[in-house]
């Protein structure tokens, strides 16, 4: 009886170990020593050898002697960001989705499989001291139900020494964000059916920092998708600018389909006829009034 119990325990341990290793959020960095004012990165990677996953959210707690500078998404496997890495109540929050699912990154040349990069978080050391960066993940299966899958995070010790070495992080990206096609949409569940513009660009070399929009001759203003257009008549030109982390910009103009060419021609004809009537009245006003 004892032996059976012993074997059951071993198998149970193996099963638990296998399950806990199935979805892994990790970093290639085991520990780090940096200088004060020095920028450094902590990459976060993800893999799920057995269960395809398609969404995640991470909460990253950081010690007081670190400042969160930003993130670098060069080479990231995440194509849709829900929450780009940002600071919220002293913690770094990030979440995103990978449409149609992700397991492991495959290198077809050497058949190697491994984790895919989510992002590289950029920090800068403040005061000398020890601390720990802890990543707590929530990972969801690509099963159409949003089932949460078991996933262990990680903690890495970080030490900032007494030396001050000022260095800023430089994004290695000279390429513009990829071409993208914004669309004008109308949906009863968004702003009472108001016209909105929907957009999303990809930047493989550093990631999208933000978007800006300009209506007509207005100013560029920072925007998120969906953006409710100020000009609901759709008569202004709409330009969208995608700016990557290195500052490269791609501007695209939205093709407005809401007013059809036939409608536009009709409007032009009406305006033309109105003008003709006005000119006729002005030119022949004496005759018209005399007759009266």
């Amino acid at each position: 009886m004892k032996k059976i119990f012993y074997y059951i325990c071993i198998v149970a341990c193996l099963v638990v170990t296998k399950q806990s290793l199935a979805q892994t959020v990790t970093t290639p960095v085991s520990s780090a020593v940096f200088h004060q004012a020095e920028a450094f990165t902590i990459p976060i990677t993800i893999e799920s050898a057995t269960t395809p996953i398609n969404a995640f959210s991470f909460t990253v707690t950081i010690p007081n002697n670190l400042t969160f500078v930003g993130s670098d998404e060069a080479g990231s496997v995440v194509s849709l960001w829900i929450d780009s890495p940002h600071l919220e109540n002293g913690k770094v929050i990030l979440s995103g989705a990978m449409p149609t699912g992700f397991t492991q990154l495959i290198n077809p040349l050497n058949k190697m499989r491994g984790p895919g990069l989510v992002t590289k978080l950029i920090f800068s050391g403040n005061d000398a001291g020890e601390g720990t960066i802890t990543v707590t993940p929530s990972v969801y299966a690509n099963d159409g139900l949003g089932t949460k899958v078991a996933s262990a995070g990680f903690s890495i010790p970080v030490s900032i020494d007494d030396k001050v070495v000022r260095s800023a992080y430089v994004w290695q990206d000279a390429i513009l964000p990829e071409q993208f096609t914004p669309t004008i949409e109308q949906n009863p569940v968004v702003e009472d059916n108001a016209y909105t513009v929907v957009f999303s660009a990809i930047d493989k070399d550093s990631g999208i920092a933000h978007y800006e929009i300009k209506e007509g001759n207005g100013l560029w203003i920072e925007a998120t998708s969906p953006y409710v257009l100020r000009d609901q008549t759709l008569s202004s030109t709409i330009d969208i600018k995608a700016v990557d982390k290195a500052g490269n910009e791609r501007v695209v103009r939205v093709v407005v389909h809401a007013v059809s060419p036939v409608e536009r021609r009709s409007k032009i004809v009406i305006v033309f006829l109105a003008l003709c009537v006005a000119i006729t009245i002005v030119v022949f006003r004496k005759k018209i009034f005399k007759v009266k």
């Binding site: 969404a55 496997v77 849709l80 989705a97 990978m98 449409p99 149609t100 929907v198």
Partner: protein
Amino acid sequence: MRRNCIATSILIAIFMMASSVSVYADEIVTISASVPGAVGPGGGGGGGGGGTGFSSPTAVTFSGRAYPLSKVTILRDGNIAITTIAGPDARFSVTLENLTGGNYTFSTYTEDANGRRSASFSFPLFLTEGATTTVSGIFLAPTIDVDKAEVKQGDNINIFGTAAPSSTITISVHSPVEHFVQTQTDPNGTYLYTYDTSLLERGSHQTKSKVSLSSVASEYGTSAGFTVGDKNIPKDSICGRRGDLNKDCRVNIVDFSVLAYWYKRPNVLEGIDLNADGQITIVDFSILAYYWTG
């Protein structure tokens, strides 16, 4: 003690073997790459001359089986990159060019003649600059649908869809007990199975199917749901499936933006909240990502 150790080792070995024989979709898929002009290790490090600036294109070729004359779509990082039409034998091959080296998530799906979509097949790949990558042996799962949203207990429900022609379809009807039935596709790849619901309990059920041909089987595809109840209610439009928030028969960035609009907002409208928990969370985005069509 020694017997204990041997028995433990055997158990561990059996467990490890069992772990490695589980079947995943990509086991039938072959992924390979080659760099034109590259030489193997020890093949000499010559070259360097010329300086013409020529570099071979970075490309990926996808091939496999879909349905006869069906439209096959390749997504690149969630966006439609290219489409092609499968041959009458359901085979397709399509090459995506003008890529640069780096990480990509490619996925492929197909649509049958009635606009029903297969489940997506996903390939996260690291592409080497100048390498030509081949992903072959893709076997897309069947489409599936039912003719009734609700079926009277004991009446028949038709389960149908499309797959590779002249292949075997295994249909699973999920209830507290999972039932399996088999049927064949015709030369056009369509199948129909008339299922007797007297075996099923009242309530919601899901059915899904997979295809096998020449000892190769696909994964199970997407599910179709129906209810066993007191009356027969025919099923209407195939449009507006889960995640299609603007009812345009696609699940893409427009639907994502609708979810993003409601993310963390109170009083979410009915129909937007995909898991019906009263709020838009990462779970809703996960459901949307599963049904993504680009």
